[in-house]
Amino acid sequence: MAQGTGFVDGIGDNQNTVVVIFLRGGADGLTLVPPVGDDAYYRARPYISIKKKDAIALDGTFGLNPEMAALKPLYDDHALAIVHGVGSEDSSRSHFEAQDLMEQGGATAGGWIGRYLRASSLGNDGPLTAVAIGKSLPVSLRGAPSSVAMESFETLSLGAEEAPFLSALQKMYAHEKSGIGKAGLDSLAAMDRIKTMRETDYQPGGGAEYGDDSLSRGLRQVAQLIKAKVGLKAATIDLDGWDSHIVTGAVMNPLMQRLSTAMSAFYLDLDRYMETTTLLVMTEFGRRVYENASFGTDHGRGSIMMALGGGVAGGRVLSDWAGLEEDNLEGPGDLPVTINYRDVLAPILQNHASHVDPGAVFPGYEISPVAIFG
């Protein structure tokens, strides 16, 4: 990778970054990427299905929801891969349980990104190795050697008179033995780094047009961190609100627009940096195949994942699709999980850091990697 004009030395020059967008609430894969070639889909959803003529054709079975038309060029560029019928083994259909399991990566302490960062660490982690865009750290980042949660870096300052105060804090937090001490030192180091970033006027590249919402604003700052080579190895950001128990379109359409706009802008903005950046989109579970009486769907099992950049062989929908005939469904009528989410993540993480044993990231799980790189 060419040496950039980054102003931060050392640790950032060989970075690979994984960025995770978590769709919280259980996003309906059958609305995001409808199986328009499957008649059973239309029988199960007389009111809320996406008509074949409205969907953007991806292959013989699947279409892209028209609200996400901005993703089609990325798919055509072979940069975007979609995995369908993906999820975890958790069948509680509980948001909280399923998110926890998916973010932990197993019945074990800490989160999968935390373990990945620990396993891939070369002992040179900076304060901005892992950034959660938002107000708190997600479960997936727990146990990371270093991490910081921030809503945005424009405001991370204590003003012109901060030096003596910060020096007093530095001494007290360095003395503190509990996790609070480490968290304090991480925050102090991050403040220092961000101070430099803040003083830079950032212009997105490639004609990227980010939206004016928290997802777009967050990804824009992630792009800035990546291009500034601060050593960012993982970033997380949430898009909430997918729990479409009633009137699916009303709940999902605005979210799909925000998601696709932000992803498309991020892709254009990062340009060549996309070679070493993988943007992942995941959700805790999909939704019941049958619509309910309030034109929504209840908690189900399989949904989709998306992987953008990082050398994935895109322009494909990967699935083990048996169709939505009743016999193929699971439990109360759910799309079964035919691909475990870890089998998508493991090869991507290994591509980012070949020295990492995926078994250490996902303990207790036998990985059969999905052919995400072709």
Partner: protein, 492 residues
């Protein structure tokens, strides 16, 4: 005599009713009045919430009194240590368990300005939803800081998390105000089954978890399972408590037919109504117990009886109480003790709390908890005896730290454990700095009064114990902000 704004609105509404025919038309006539915020009287005689004498603890570790004030209250305010030392911890707990007997004038006077928290349910829709959330948030902060009924406020916070409602969803924008008053506050130190019953039929909860559209008018209709699942998983038994997907579906059937009225002719928006036509009145089996057919709205009562009889419910509530009041990883013994108090008392909340605070693990757990942002902010305001109306600057810090009241999106509520909050230190330092240096808009600290009364012991008061050398130096160099921002102040 001044008419309150509520009286004024009521009269305006009544006048409209006289001149038209339906009361549902009245709100349409009022929008301009909603914006007209009557100024409070210029002279507002508010009682001193933190009278002396001021005494600070002298030991190098937190003693039992400081510990009690850390856990049963939102941290010690000036005057608390002297009062509770004289009273004794046990007597303080008993006082706190009878909140109605505590004179709360200083707080009552301050929350008067948040008029919408007193508005009856039928009038809530007359107000702008943003005003309702703003005033409810302010009242919550004011009560946490100024109320003498501290344990009651701490329990209101506990149940608000346990029965979380995101006030931004649908009609919860209006109805959460009523839920706070008539569900959470009404039962916060009452009986758990009564609290649960109030929750199940709370119009805000029926909106939040879609219970209002859970119907089965015909065999072909699938009930909406959302609330049924959370009732078992989050509100009573807890996850992995031995119930099945089938149990969830059966509970959902039991709860079909409960609706919240939409606006319409002679219909009061927001009123909970049972519609027998939308109820699945067949027999059900919940957790191995048969709910016979034909009970109609009585199914709710049966569901509550069944979950109350299940030992997992007491165990789950006890675990959550211990996690809040003891440590992130409470021992089995204290959880069993509290669970047993739950079972013996049929969910009497004060009985559970007495059992918890009397257990040796409680006293051993000093400083084991990491303050969540709300507690950090409130404890800082209390420790400094700050005065203020708790307008936006304070609640903005809570938003920044991801802990704004009534704004957690998913039903499990804000996390209790330390880990998710460790990334919020920057904003705590920011707020500590603003509070100590007088740049927190609308909040004032009378440092002269504190220094006069505490003298050299002010640092000990702020930390609820004597400072270490390092803390003493930080205090000498950077003032009280450094102590409020210190690692020690983040624990309780």
């Amino acid at each position: 005599m001044n008419l309150s704004r509520r009286d004024f609105l009521w009269m305006a509404g009544a006048a409209t009713v006289v001149s038209t025919t339906g009361c549902d038309l009245a709100p349409k006539m009022i929008p301009e009045l909603k914006l007209a915020k009557l100024a409070p009287p210029s002279f507002w005689p508010v009682a001193d919430p933190f009278p002396g004498p001021y005494v600070a603890p002298a030991g190098t570790e937190k003693d039992a009194v400081s510990h009690a004030l850390s856990r049963m209250a939102y941290g010690p305010a000036p005057g608390d240590y002297a009062r509770v030392s004289a009273l004794g911890v046990e007597a303080y707990l008993e006082e706190q368990l009878s909140p109605d007997a505590i004179d709360d004038k200083p707080c009552d006077q301050r929350i008067r300005l948040c008029e919408t928290i007193f508005v009856p349910g039928r009038e809530l829709y007359e107000y702008q939803e943003t005003l309702l959330l703003e005033e409810l948030t302010r009242a919550t902060l004011l009560r946490a800081v100024y109320s003498k009924r501290q344990l009651y406020e701490v329990m209101v916070g506990f149940w608000t998390d346990h029965f979380n409602i995101d006030s931004s969803k649908g009609d919860c924008q209006w109805l959460k105000t009523m839920d706070d008053r008539e569900v959470i506050r009404k039962h916060a130190l009452g009986k758990f089954p009564e609290l649960l019953r109030a929750v199940v039929l709370s119009p805000a909860m029926l909106w939040y978890l879609d219970g209002r559209v859970n119907r089965r008018a015909t065999e072909d209709e699938q009930p909406n399972e959302n609330y049924a699942r959370e009732l078992l998983e989050l509100h009573s038994l807890g996850v992995h408590a031995g119930y099945s997907q089938q149990d969830v579906m059966e509970v959902a059937r039991c709860l079909t037919g409960w609706t919240v009225q939409e606006p319409g002719w002679l219909k009061r928006r927001g009123r909970v109504k049972f519609n027998p036509d939308l109820h699945d009145d067949g027999a059900k089996e919940v957790l191995g117990v048969t709910v016979p057919s034909g009970l109609g709205e009585g199914d709710v009562e049966r569901v509550i009886e069944i979950v109350m009889k299940n030992p997992e419910t007491g165990h789950f509530i006890a675990t959550k109480l211990c996690r809040r009041f003891v440590s992130d990883t409470p021992g089995i013994e204290i959880v069993d003790t509290v669970a047993s108090a739950f079972r013996k008392s049929e969910g009497d909340i004060p009985t559970m709390l007495r059992a918890l605070f009397a257990h040796p693990e409680f006293l051993q757990s000093r400083d084991a908890k990491f303050k969540r942002p709300f507690r950090f902010a409130v404890s800082a305001l209390r420790a400094t005896g700050a005065s203020g109306k708790m307008k936006s600057p304070v609640s903005e810090y809570l938003v920044r730290m991801g802990h704004a009241p009534f704004q957690y999106p998913t039903p499990e509520g804000y996390a209790d454990e330390a880990a998710p909050w460790l990334g919020t230190l920057f904003w705590r330092w920011h707020m500590a700095d603003a509070l100590a240096n007088g740049t927190l808009d609308g909040v004032e600290v009378d440092w002269d009064r504190l220094r006069e009364n505490f003298g050299d012991a002010l640092a000990s008061h702020l930390l609820a114990r004597a400072p270490s050398d390092l803390e003493r130096n930080a205090y000498n160099e950077s003032g009280p902000a450094a102590l409020i921002a210190s690692p020690a102040f983040q624990r309780y």
